[in-house]
């Protein structure tokens, strides 16, 4: 014993497991750093909307560095899809973004490469990054569409590099179908560079420890995550818990879309059933299965309260049933741009609402429940170039039995940064005229929900603007008697001074001088609001 991992019969003891965990997560993180630092899309470089992962030879995920949870659990689907479509050779790279073949929504472009030593397949490396534009009917590729064809360029798993040779024809097609081709090329180079780093490090690891030891350790790491997740689930009270919640609408006239969930906790296993959720809709708020899985895994990862390495093992004790053709498992050719960013948040809300029945002392009220997506683009005459930009705006977090909710913070399925005002104004024909906390937008309660954000941007060039938001009608719920938060709202003020509300989901063309104002929802309150005199000093609203 003593933890020697020889080349013959690798034994993965608790020591080797932890050592290997360090090594593998370091590789995933280094891939992420390479991608982030050399990318061009604000979404990647400023907002960290990407993830990197390492897979074993069979294509199961062994480690992932994700900066936003929506990539958790959706990445495994991508490599499985690649392996279904292709026999990979050394030097190949497969690109994909098809939501119905391993992708999430079209702007998320995934690249996957096998790692070989000689003839031997050792594993795979992959990364996924949100490009600022992938074509479609409006800049930012988040427009209201009726089917996937209108949302942009769709790439089924195809080889963009074959045995080390880039397919320039395919690359040309890719670049020709996006708005800022030069930026796309730069982002793709950064993604490929991250794959090279990951592959090189994995090879070094195998050189140092031996192939069998690495394979055994990858498997052991998955078993380890599975044990941690089972332990966490076993700590929750067994039973059945159900809840439902609604999406405001699909932006094309369909309102009140229901998501229903029943959760069964049973001695270290969880069964999550979305039966009874509405059918998929015409507008782009449909979630494909990858997105729904990501939301489910996220919720249980939060409840686990343990640092569980993100890999396939973590997901084994959780069984998900999502009816085909429903809003949470949409089928081709549904439009899905908003499923990833909006519906994923609602899936979290409904699941947490159900689990509040199991652990009321731990589950917070609803957070803002929308990423308040804001995209615009056009031609910038002053700089002589086209522009396309996309951002998400944070909101309030839900309060809990323990504390008030945080204000102006990204919650649940996203954690992307804002773009600095000074960077935005230097690069694009816009001016930020207000960026503030939306006071008193959190729900009242014994503990108040966090407040949302007020953000106003003035266009300095004519632009096409897309808003894709939720929780403008169905407010984020409170719990245990706490009040719901204020829903979000959007306004547009034309240069002349006319001002009008904008719907939650809309695409408009606006003249230079237009101001777009977005107020994001707060978080729900927790517990009955008591008059000041009855409160203990500790439970007053923060700040």
């Amino acid at each position: 014993m003593g933890g020697r991992t020889g080349r013959r019969a690798p034994t993965i003891d608790p020591i080797a497991l932890e050592v290997f965990h360090h090594r593998l997560s370091a590789i995933a993180e280094e891939m992420g750093l390479t991608l982030c630092r050399s990318a061009f899309s604000p979404n990647i470089k400023e907002r960290r909307d990407y993830s990197c992962a390492i897979f074993d030879a069979r294509g199961t995920m062994a480690a992932q560095a994700a900066h936003i949870p929506v990539h958790l659990g959706s990445a495994p689907q991508s490599v499985l899809a690649v392996l279904r479509h292709h026999r990979l050779e050394a030097g190949d790279v497969v690109i994909l973004n098809d939501p119905f073949a391993g992708g999430t929504h079209l702007p998320d472009v995934t690249v996957v490469a096998p790692v070989f030593r000689g003839e031997r397949l050792l594993g795979h490396v992959a990364n996924r990054a949100h490009h600022a534009d992938i074509g479609g009917s409006s800049p930012g590729s988040m427009a209201l569409a009726r089917e996937i064809y209108q949302e942009g360029l769709r790439l089924p798993p195809v080889k963009i590099v074959r045995r080390g040779e880039t397919d320039d024809d395919l690359l040309a097609v890719f670049l020709a179908n996006t708005r800022i081709a030069d930026e796309r090329r730069g982002d793709l180079m950064a993604q490929l560079a991250a794959l090279r780093v990951g592959a090189a490090r994995l090879l070094e690891l195998v050189d140092a420890d031996g192939e069998a030891a690495v394979a055994a350790a990858m498997a052991a790491l998955q078993d380890y995550s599975e044990r941690l997740m089972r332990g966490a689930l076993a700590a929750l009270p067994d039973g059945s818990y159900a809840a439902e919640d609604w999406l405001d609408g699909d932006g094309l006239g369909r309102e009140s879309i229901r998501i229903r969930v029943a959760v069964e906790l049973d001695g270290g296993r969880a069964r999550v059933d979305f039966s009874g959720s509405d059918d998929q809709v015409e507008g782009g708020v449909n979630a494909n299965l990858a997105v729904t899985l990501a939301a489910v895994y996220y919720v249980f990862r939060c409840l686990a309260q343990a640092d569980i390495p993100a890999n396939a093992g973590m997901m084994r004790p959780i069984e998900v049933r999502a009816p085909e053709g429903s809003i949470v498992n949409a089928e081709f050719p549904a439009a899905v741009a908003g499923g990833n960013v909006e519906t994923s948040q609602r899936i979290v809300d409904v699941l947490l609402r159900a689990l509040a029945g199991a652990v009321p002392e731990r589950v917070p009220a609803a957070s803002c429940g929308s990423m308040s997506n804001f995209a615009f683009g056009g031609y910038d005459a002053a700089r002589g170039r086209h522009f396309s930009y996309y951002e998400t705006i944070a909101g309030g977090a839900g309060a809990s039995a323990a504390a008030a909710g945080e204000s102006a913070v990204q919650t649940h399925m996203t954690n992307t940064m804002n773009t600095p005002v000074e960077a935005l104004e230097a690069d694009l024909p816009v001016r930020v005229t207000r960026y503030a906390i939306r006071r008193n937008s959190g729900g009242r309660g014994e503990h108040a929900g966090g407040d949302g954000i007020e953000r106003e941007i003035e266009l300095l060039a004519p632009a096409s603007v897309t808003l894709l938001g939720e929780r403008r009608r169905y407010a984020p719920y409170g719990l245990a008697g706490g009040a719901p938060a204020k829903p979000g709202r959007n306004r547009l003020r034309l240069p002349g001074g006319t001002s009008k509300p904008l719907p939650a989901k809309v695409s408009v063309t606006a003249p230079s001088g237009t101001k777009i104002r977005i107020d994001t929802p707060g978080g729900g309150g927790w517990g009955k609001h008591k008059p000041r005199s009855q409160r203990s000093p500790k439970t007053t609203q923060r700040r």
Binding site: M1, G2, G3, T5, D13, P14, I15, L17, E18, H21, H22, R23, A26, E30, L33, T34, S38, A39, F40, K45, E183, G186, M189, L192, A193, R196, V197, A208, D209, Y224, S225, R227, C302, L303, A306, I308, V363, P364, A394, S400, A403, G405, E406, A408, V409, Q410, N415, M417, N418, P420, V421, E422, A423, E425, A426, T433, R434, A436, I437, R543
Partner: protein
């Protein structure tokens, strides 16, 4: 600048001890330690100086934790923040992200200044420095009235795009300073774009400057006519006045001293490419020195960003006192929980839980009766007892469990060393591992082997290297200016850098009249459209050197793509006076009984020598244990140890270099 009669002194305040190193004009070197006085750090510093110096004249450089602790313990001054109207909440919104993505109750760091003290000013600059909305005299009056009404003595000023045109900030600052209000001005501290990070830096400065000023006034009175400088996070020293007004520059003063000291020690043996390893009780600091210390401006303190330069140090949450546990999933974890100073490792006599120090003791790496020069007894039986529970759960021997603890803690340190080297496109095999702090030398050979490094340096006085480094630090000033020039010519860059250069030269001339200063000018470059820059020294072949650096860091370059010069950086330094240190006298070797050392699955006999008894000019082969008052070094089988003329201990890999211990 050196005054021939003065003693050169370095001081470093740690959590437990305040360390002093003094070198007298005749080369005599003295070390002194005394318990820190956290309630009033000046007390220990002044008392220690008195004990060390008597009434000798001295040039003192001081590594201070006063600013750091004020931020971490939230004990800074009351501050009013002035920002562009409409952006008063910027400090609270931050980058709108949460530090822990899987926290059901997300928390951002609490802003240092609450909403009621954040005041909007009616004005607006654009990114190219034009005043879209001018700052009127009436608006200045209004702002001044609000500040004075608040009775707060420290103001942070940060207006949008002030890096491009500081006029509005300056006029507000002039009006406030005329009334005796302390102003921290963003364009003076860090004229760099990205408003939140600049604001955060400015607010931290306003928060800590009054505290630092009080502390330094008190120290200044205590040291009388002796010269007192403060070490900055960048590894350069600065005057008392600058350290008071720009206290944010001293936040990482302590760890910086260690790296500066490591470089100074390495230069004595002709090396300047180093990876430094400072293993303390609860954490380990790793840094990489590539001819010169490497600085960065992307760091945080308590999750709050700071944009002034600091030595790039990677901290791992594991050290000698870190606890070893088996988690719910069955993996062996070491840290981040620590036994701390109380109860401390089990072998210290009070704690029951196993730590890294206990594992080192069980494996025979620590010598019971030589710990802290024999002043402190450590108990091997207690360490064995603490580790036997772990061994039972692992179903291995106590020694194998202890070895496991060492392997896991080493894995974390190895990861940090890789982050600093391999991830930056640098090959660790080209570097020397420099160990200091009490425990680093016990893990050095294994870490060096894991990274293919062939040489390890343990400097003289490894236990007080931060104080020794502070003494060796140059006096330094550095400034930055965002320029944002696309495909700039060398002449354009030189012209843009000229005002910064003059400012740095003037400031250094004021601090060190008549001294020769070295000026370095560099530029942060990126491909147009990227957001992260690579710092490249100004000079010929700039474009080529940038492409090469990009390729080294990220694996590709794009020589056709336009580049953008984002920030110009000018740093000026005046070297510390050269003061020769006398060689420490070697002691006559004493025969010591061999030690039992567990290494790679089995017990081996290892020689034990006192460092001061190491024979000069002859190397000893491992396995070997070298003890000294403040540190222990383990020379692994396959390694050799020798003492350089300056007294530095050098370990080198034998011919058949290969990974071991795995």
């Amino acid at each position: 600048m050196a005054r021939s009669s003065a003693v050169l002194v370095g001081v470093d305040t740690g959590g437990t001890f305040t360390d002093f190193v003094g070198v007298w004009p005749d080369g005599d070197c003295r070390i002194h330690k005394r318990p820190s006085t956290p309630d009033d750090p000046a007390r220990a510093v002044l008392a220690g100086l008195e004990e060390l110096l008597g009434d000798a004249d001295a040039d003192i450089t001081y590594g201070s934790t006063v600013a750091t602790n004020a931020v971490l313990e939230r004990k800074g001054a009351e501050v009013v923040v002035l920002t562009t109207a409409g952006f008063e909440d910027l400090l609270e919104i931050g980058r709108q992200t949460r530090p822990d993505i899987y926290a059901l109750q997300p928390r951002k760091p609490q802003p240092l200044v609450g909403r009621a003290r954040r005041i909007g000013v009616d004005e607006r600059m654009t990114f190219d420095g034009a005043a879209l909305s001018s700052l009127t005299a009436a608006e200045i009056d209004r702002a001044v009235r609000r500040v004075t009404a608040s009775r707060v003595g420290s103001v942070a000023l940060c207006l949008l795009h002030s890096y491009a045109n500081p006029d509005h900030e300056r006029r507000l600052a002039d009006a406030l300073r005329a009334r005796g209000v302390h102003c921290s001005v963003s364009s003076e501290l860090v004229a760099e774009y990205r408003e939140y990070e600049r604001l955060s830096t400015t607010v931290i400065n306003a928060y800590v400057a009054p505290v630092m000023e009080r502390h330094l006034v008190r120290l200044g009175e205590g040291v009388g006519n002796r010269r007192l400088r403060v070490l900055q996070s960048s590894g350069g020293a600065t005057s008392r006045e600058t350290a008071s007004h720009e206290a944010v520059r001293t936040l990482l003063s302590g760890p910086a001293g260690g790296v500066v000291g490591a470089l100074a020690a390495a230069r004595r043996i002709g090396e300047s490419k180093l990876i430094t390893l400072d293993m303390g009780g609860t954490s380990t600091d790793v840094s990489l020195v590539d001819g010169a210390v490497r600085r960065h401006t992307e760091w945080t303190i308590g999750d709050l960003p700071v944009k002034v330069p600091a030595i790039d140090i990677h901290t791992v949450g594991a050290g000698g006192g870190s606890l070893a546990t088996i988690d719910a999933g069955g993996a062996l974890k070491v840290g981040p929980e620590s036994a701390g100073a109380d109860p401390g490792p089990a072998c210290y006599g009070r704690g029951e839980l196993p730590t890294v120090t206990d594992a080192d003791l069980v494996l025979g790496r620590l010598v019971e009766d030589a710990f802290l020069g024999g002043d402190m007894r450590i108990d091997r039986q207690r360490a064995v007892r603490a580790l036997s529970g772990l061994a039972r759960r692992l179903r291995v021997s106590v020694e194998a469990a202890a070895e496991g603890v060492v392997r896991v803690v080493n894995a974390g340190m190895e990861r940090a060393m890789r982050t600093m080297s391999v991830e930056r496109g640098l090959d660790p095999r080209d570097y020397v591992l420099v160990c200091f702090g009490g425990a680093a030398g016990m893990h050095a050979c294994e870490l060096a082997d894991a990274l293919g490094m062939r040489k390890v340096l343990v400097p003289t006085h490894p236990g007080v290297l931060s104080a020794w480094g502070a003494m060796r630090a140059p006096v330094e000033r550095a400034h930055v200016q965002t320029v944002r020039l696309v495909d700039p010519s060398d002449a354009e860059l030189a012209a843009a850098a000229a005002p910064l250069r003059e400012r740095v030269i003037a400031e250094l001339a004021a601090e060190c009249p008549g001294a020769r200063c070295e000026i370095e000018v560099s530029v942060d470059l990126r491909y147009r459209g990227q957001s992260y820059e690579i710092e490249v020294a100004l000079g010929g072949g700039l474009r080529r050197r940038f492409d090469e650096a990009h390729r080294r860091l990220y694996g590709y370059a794009d020589p056709e793509r336009a580049i953008e010069a984002v920030n110009l950086r000018v740093a000026g330094a005046v070297a510390a006076p050269k003061q020769r240190e006398k060689k420490q006298p070697r002691r006559r070797p004493r025969q010591r009984p061999p030690r039992q050392l567990w290494w790679a699955d089995g017990w081996r006999r290892a020689r034990h020598v006192e460092r001061m008894e190491m024979p000069a000019g002859r190397s000893l082969a491992g396995p070997l244990i070298i003890t000294e008052v403040s540190a222990t070094t383990v020379v692994a089988p396959g390694w050799r140890a020798s003492v350089a003329p300056g007294g530095d201990l050098i370990l080198s890999r034998g011919r058949q270099g290969k990974r071991n211990g795995r």
